[in-house]
Each structure stands twice: as structure tokens, then as C-alpha cells.
């Protein structure tokens, strides 16, 4: 009887040992042959061109790696869920990715409110938020080891822009025009903070509803304030609208936006109407007729892969795929979430996107770069003007 009891105890403790061993070796979304990666993004709805471009670019990077046998013998399975830029759908999509597909990491999740809605449960599930497709400051602040951002935030970009236009162009009447949202207010905050640092005051401002269509009132107000340069916290339609309204009213002034307006729709609008519009950006747009052979090769490869020409989002999406692969490579065969984060933190001076700044991460620095360039629309195309700006 005693012997039996002992054998039973040994068996139980043995089983417990095996169970605990298995638990530590098992990382979510990682098997011997596969790493499962997810993304919630907008494949339909108002910002579909960004979501489709970004996920196609990322998928292209992963497919290239998979064709070569994957990373450390593991292929990457990329599951993309559509939320149509709606918060409830994003939460539903995240439920599938986190609880059913059991993803290892979230790559390129699109939209500030969608990310804000999903982040708490994602962090609780120990899933890194890898380079979301929004440059909002909230994606990196407050610091959390699960949050990674590649480029300058909107805040960084607009502070650098304000600094440049005041110091180098000698403007002292700076205004702000922004959407009355978190996004827009972040830009207004950046402009105000930088002006304060330069001992200046905001000359005038105008806040509008994101679906606003008429900008005559706003432009008249800014014109009366005598703005030499207006910093824009806008996206697409509310960038084109005010710019053209000012032109129509015969007001010669300067508008400066950020990466959210660095888009082919803005530059190409009616073939040249947007000439003279400035935007801050973290990378350089590649055009199909580029003379740089490396860029040309990539653009052709994308055309072949996706069956249509790339856009800026595709460039960024491809870049975040490359960065993710690099981190997986560094994390080694024994892949864990903590190991992945350590690997990310070890990346220094890595060029992720063609025409983008080098990225450097560190233990308490999960933002790859705060550099941003200034670009202007010339002949309906973006042209980069400056070396990286900062403040």
C-alpha cells in the first residue's frame, strides 16, 4: 500500500513537471513549423487604399521569406481581418485573432481609435503591438514593452516642421488648422509646444469636424489672422479642401501637413492643383519611373506580386514586414515573446523601408526613429526637400 502511494506521488509530480516544462516552452502562436501573425485593418471603407496597400506589402515581405524556407525553419502565416475603420468590428476582429487564431504578434494594425480599443486586451494577452499603421503618440506613450513604433509620431513631425518654418524660413505668424479629434489635437499640441519653445505665440487656429466639406469660413478666419504658414492636422479631403479654397480666394500662403497627407491622392489631385502643398514624411515615395535601380526593382516586384502599382502604404507595409523578419531572425530558433522583444531592442541603424531613415531601438526606446523629412508637391508628385528634420 505504501509503495503504491509513493508510486502515485512520483507519477503525479512527474506529470506536473512535464506540464510546467511544456508551458514554458510553448509560446502563443509559435509551433515548430509556423509563426502566426495577425492584423486588424481597413480593407473596405474610407481608408481602404491604405489598409489594402499596407497588408499587401507586408504579405509580400512574408511570402518572400516563406519562399526561402521561412525564418529558423518557421513559415509566417499572416492573418488579416477587416474592420472597415469601425471600432466594434475591430474589437470583434481582435477577438478572433487573439482568442481563436492565437497570434504571436499584431503587425500593422490600422487606425488610432481601433488600436486604442484593442490595445488593453491585446496587452493582457501578451501580444506585442508591432508598428501599428498610425503615427499617434498614444502608440508609444506611455511606454510599454509591448508597444513598438517605427517612425516619428505626428507630434514629432509637426514640431520639427514648425521649428523649420520659423527658424529657416523666418516665418513668425504660425497658425494651426486641425480636426477636432485626438489626432488633430495632437498636431495642435505639437505646434503650440514648439512655438512656446521658440518664444512665439499661435497666430490663429481653426478646428473642424472630420467630415467637414466647406472651408471658406475657416480659411477667411485664418487669412484675417495673417497666417504665413498653417500647420495642418488633417487627412485627405480636409487637406485638399482648405488648400484649394485658399487658392480660389486668391490667398498666397503656405500649408504644411504630416505623413497622413503624404499620399498619392493628395499629390495627384486633378493633376497639379495641389502643387505647392508641403507635408512631413518619414520615408520617400517611390514612383514607377524612378532612376534608382534598387527602388525600380522593388516597384516592379510589387507590381508583379499584387497585379497593380504600389502606393505609399504598400511601401510602409513591406518595410514593417522586413523589420518583423529581422527581429524574428535575431530572436533565434527558440522563439518567445520576451525573446522577440529583446531582439527588437537590439536592432540598430536598420534600414527598413526603401528611402526611410535608419531605425534604432533600445531597452527603453521602442520608437525606431524620430526623423522626418519635408516634402512638397511639384508637378503633381511628391519631392523630398530636406535632410531629416528634428527639433
Amino acid at each position: 500500500m505504501k509503495l503504491k502511494m509513493k508510486a502515485l506521488l512520483a507519477g503525479v509530480s512527474g506529470a506536473a513537471l512535464i506540464a510546467s516544462g511544456a508551458a514554458s516552452a510553448q509560446t502563443r502562436g509559435v509551433t515548430d513549423k509556423e509563426v502566426v501573425v495577425g492584423s486588424h485593418t481597413a480593407l473596405t471603407g474610407p481608408v481602404a487604399p491604405w489598409g489594402v496597400g499596407a497588408t499587401t506589402g507586408t504579405r509580400m515581405a512574408f511570402d518572400e521569406a516563406n519562399a526561402k524556407g521561412g525564418v529558423h525553419g518557421r513559415k509566417i502565416r499572416f492573418i488579416v481581418e477587416d474592420h472597415g475603420y469601425q471600432v466594434p468590428k475591430a474589437v470583434q476582429a481582435a477577438n478572433k485573432l487573439l482568442n481563436r487564431d492565437n497570434i504571436f504578434a499584431m503587425v500593422g494594425a490600422l487606425g488610432t481609435p481601433m488600436n486604442n480599443a484593442v490595445l488593453p486586451r491585446q496587452i493582457k494577452a501578451n501580444v506585442p503591438n508591432f508598428v501599428p499603421f498610425t503615427a499617434s503618440r498614444q502608440m508609444i506613450e506611455p511606454f510599454h514593452k509591448m508597444k513598438f513604433l517605427a517612425f516619428a509620431s505626428y507630434y514629432d513631425q509637426m514640431r520639427a516642421a514648425t521649428n523649420y518654418f520659423v527658424k529657416e524660413k523666418g516665418f513668425n505668424k504660425v497658425c494651426a488648422m486641425y480636426q477636432d479629434t485626438d489626432y488633430g489635437r495632437e498636431i495642435s499640441q505639437a505646434v503650440n509646444d514648439e512655438l512656446k519653445a521658440l518664444n512665439l505665440k499661435l497666430a490663429g487656429e481653426s478646428a473642424h469636424n472630420p467630415r467637414e466639406k466647406s472651408f471658406v469660413g475657416a480659411i477667411t478666419k485664418l487669412r484675417k489672422a495673417g497666417c504665413q504658414v498653417t500647420m495642418m492636422g488633417t487627412i485627405i479631403t480636409d487637406t485638399i479642401g482648405p488648400f484649394l479654397t485658399a487658392k480660389k480666394l486668391g490667398w498666397k500662403t503656405t500649408f504644411v501637413g504630416n505623413i497622413a497627407t503624404y499620399d498619392l491622392i493628395v499629390s495627384g489631385f486633378k493633376k497639379g492643383l495641389m502643387n505647392g502643398y508641403y507635408a512631413m514624411t518619414s520615408f520617400e515615395m517611390i514612383y514607377p519611373d524612378t532612376t534608382n535601380p534598387e527602388h525600380k526593382a522593388w516597384a516592379d516586384a510589387y507590381q508583379k506580386y499584387a497585379g497593380k502599382p504600389h502606393n505609399g502604404a504598400a511601401q510602409l507595409g513591406y518595410g514593417s514586414g522586413i523589420l518583423f523578419l529581422e527581429a524574428l531572425k535575431r530572436a533565434g530558433r527558440n522563439l518567445t515573446t520576451d525573446g522577440f522583444i529583446k531582439a527588437m531592442e537590439s536592432i540598430k541603424s536598420f534600414e527598413m523601408t526603401l528611402g526611410g531613415p535608419p531605425l534604432t531601438f533600445g531597452p527603453n526606446d521602442h520608437q525606431g526613429s524620430t526623423d522626418a523629412y519635408l516634402a512638397v508637391v511639384e508637378n503633381a508628385r511628391w519631392k523630398t526637400l530636406t535632410r531629416p528634420l528634428s527639433y
Binding site: 474589437v91 482568442n99 480599443a117 480636426q179 472630420p210
Partner: protein, 360 residues
């Protein structure tokens, strides 16, 4: 075929008419209660969301399916309930189970106030009036920043009770939702066998006949609207905890139409229909998404695939089964009940006397 032998008048108002009901609903109850044992967190979380939609659907069903008043504005009341819940929890130190009925009653009061002008209209005009409600509320949610957080949305405090924090994606919160659903179901079923409920059905079938029987039409309609919006508000309050983050786009016209679609697909004029409809509206898109993962990449990675297939299935459904899922279920049941003598014409609409009223 089964014959129910009636020995008393209250047999007519019983929830369960005979032992068969006890068996089938008993099995359903056991299946629902034991669901966390055989379903994963993903499925449980989706079920919780379906339950919050089902509660809202029950509210709308009382109005559309039983009182005959159409509403294209119920997402507004869903939203009022959700934001009221979030605001109550953020402002006062009360338990979420206490805040929920307050949010529901508050929504119901607003519904009552709005019903007084709205329900003077009928038919298509009522649809337009309630449609406006949906649009107006979306604007209010966007503009009233101090309460709703505007475009940026508002985080909802996690549901917790006596120090225990519920996980909205897990089994514990599922039980909370399930309990509320059963409570609301009992309430609705009870209402429908009371004089108020009978008056509602009478108003639906013929206002002229109802009035001639002594039913106060205006009061009945307004009561129905109030109760309906209160229940929808309760669904919204539950949804707020499920979502944990509210944004105005969660309560727009599309959601109003989704609700209406939900009760039509489920089966107008039955409480079961509201629940079946919610299951379809929430689970079908996810099922399509999952199926997409198994398709070849050239098809599966096509953007816009899910809404397309979802729309097709719904159109087919409304074309081929206008009485909804519950209507189809009743037909199947009757087919087996009276096996060799089933006639298609049994379910044909027979209200020829209503022709004049249908014009309104």
C-alpha cells in the same frame, strides 16, 4: 400529432404549453449554461456579443414584431444605453449591475419622451422620423465631448463586482450576459400575455378593430416604444462592457438597419426570432471570415469578401424565407407534427380585411 387537453383557463397563458416545450427549452438551457465547457474563449466572446445584440433585438421585436411600429432609430437607443452606462460608471462609484437598470430606465424615459411626437406618425413617415433620430444621435455623440468623448470615443470601466473583475472575453461575463438575457426574455414573454401585450398585438393587427375594442391606441404605442427602448438600452449597456471602448461609429444608421435586418431574418413576431437573428448577424460574418482562412490565397485574400458573401446570404434568405428562421422552424415542426397532411397554404397570409389600413 399532439393534442393538448385543456383543463383550466391559465393553461392558455402558460409559457410552456406542454411537456415538449420543457424538454426542448430545457436542453437549450443546459447547452447554453455548459457552453464554456466545450467552446473556446473566442466562441464564448462572440456569443456574449450576440447576446447583447439579442437583447436589443428583443426590444425592437416588441415594437416592430408585436406592435407593428417600424423603427430605424434603435441604434440611437442602443447607443444611449451604452454611453449612459459608461458615464454612470465613470461618474459614480456604483456596481455595474446597479448601473445597468439605471441606464435602461434612462433610455426608456428618453424613448417615452420621443415617442409622444414620433408615434403620431405611421408607416413610412414613422420610419423617416426614427431614421432622423439615428442621424441626430450620431451627431450628438460626436459633439458632446464632455460626456461621450467625441470622435475619440470613451473607454468603459471594466465590469467588476465585490472586487472580482469580469473578463468580457471569457466565460464569467458570458454568464452575466446569459442571466440578463433570460431575465429579459421572461419579462417580454410575461408582458405579451398581459393586457398591455395583448393590446400591442391588437394595435398591430388592426388599429380600427383595436380601438373599437376599447384599446387606447396612443397610450399602447407609447408604452410599447418606452419598453422597447428601455430593453434596447439595456442591451447597449451590456454591449458597452463587452466592447470596453465606445466610439460614435458603433451606433450609426448601419447598426439600426442591422437590428431591423436581425429581427426580420430571425422571424418577425416571435421572441425566438430576435435571438436567432442576433446569432446570424454576429456569428455568420465570423464564420465567413474563418472559412476565408481555408480558401486558396487568390480568393481568400481578396478585400471586401466578407461583406459581399454576408449580403448575398441575407438577400437569398429574405427572398426564399420571408418568415425568417423561426418561421422556417415552425414549418418544419408542423410538417413532422401532422406528417402526411402538411399543406403549404397553412402559413399563407390571410388578413384580407386590412387592405384599407395598409395604405397608411
Amino acid at each position: 400529432m399532439r393534442f393538448v387537453f385543456k383543463t383550466g383557463y391559465d393553461q392558455d397563458v402558460r409559457f410552456f404549453k406542454h411537456a415538449g416545450y420543457w424538454q426542448s427549452y430545457g436542453f437549450l438551457f443546459i447547452a447554453a449554461v455548459t457552453a464554456p465547457l466545450y467552446l473556446g474563449n473566442f466562441e464564448i466572446s462572440e456569443l456574449t456579443q450576440a447576446i447583447s445584440f439579442a437583447i436589443a433585438g428583443l426590444g425592437l421585436m416588441l415594437l416592430v414584431g408585436f406592435t407593428g411600429q417600424v423603427s430605424l432609430g434603435h441604434a440611437a437607443f442602443f447607443g444611449i444605453g451604452a454611453y449612459a452606462q459608461a458615464w454612470l460608471l465613470a461618474t459614480f462609484d456604483i456596481a455595474f449591475l446597479v448601473a445597468m437598470p439605471i441606464a435602461a430606465v434612462f433610455t426608456g424615459l428618453i424613448g417615452l419622451l420621443l415617442a409622444i411626437p414620433l408615434l403620431r406618425m405611421t408607416g413610412i413617415y414613422l420610419a423617416i422620423g426614427t431614421l432622423a433620430l439615428s442621424i441626430v444621435l450620431e451627431q450628438i455623440l460626436k459633439s458632446w465631448k464632455s460626456v461621450t468623448g467625441g470622435f475619440d470615443g470613451k473607454a468603459v470601466e471594466p465590469a467588476s463586482l465585490l472586487g472580482y473583475q469580469f473578463n468580457p472575453d471569457s466565460w464569467d461575463f458570458y454568464y452575466v450576459a446569459l442571466a440578463i438575457l433570460i431575465l429579459v426574455l421572461a419579462l417580454c414573454a410575461n408582458l405579451l400575455r398581459s393586457p398591455t401585450g395583448r393590446a400591442m398585438v391588437a394595435v398591430r393587427d388592426s388599429e380600427v378593430s383595436a380601438r373599437s375594442m376599447g384599446v387606447n391606441i396612443a397610450r399602447t404605442k407609447i408604452t410599447a416604444f418606452g419598453i422597447s427602448t428601455a430593453i434596447t438600452g439595456l442591451g447597449g449597456a451590456l454591449f458597452a462592457h463587452k466592447l470596453q471602448y465606445l466610439a460614435p461609429d458603433g451606433f450609426n444608421l448601419i447598426i439600426s438597419i442591422t437590428f431591423l435586418l436581425m429581427i426580420v431574418v430571425g422571424g418577425l413576431g416571435s421572441l425566438q426570432g430576435a435571438i436567432l437573428g442576433a446569432l446570424v448577424v454576429i456569428l455568420l460574418p465570423q464564420a465567413i471570415t474563418i472559412m476565408k482562412d481555408y480558401l486558396p490565397p487568390s480568393i481568400g485574400h481578396q478585400p471586401g469578401l466578407e461583406p459581399g458573401i454576408f449580403g448575398l446570404i441575407l438577400v437569398a434568405f429574405i427572398l426564399f424565407e420571408p418568415m425568417g428562421i423561426y418561421g422556417r422552424w415552425r414549418k418544419i415542426k408542423l410538417f413532422f407534427d401532422i406528417f402526411p397532411v402538411y399543406r403549404k397554404a397553412t402559413f399563407r397570409r390571410q388578413k384580407a380585411y386590412l387592405k384599407t389600413e395598409r395604405m397608411r
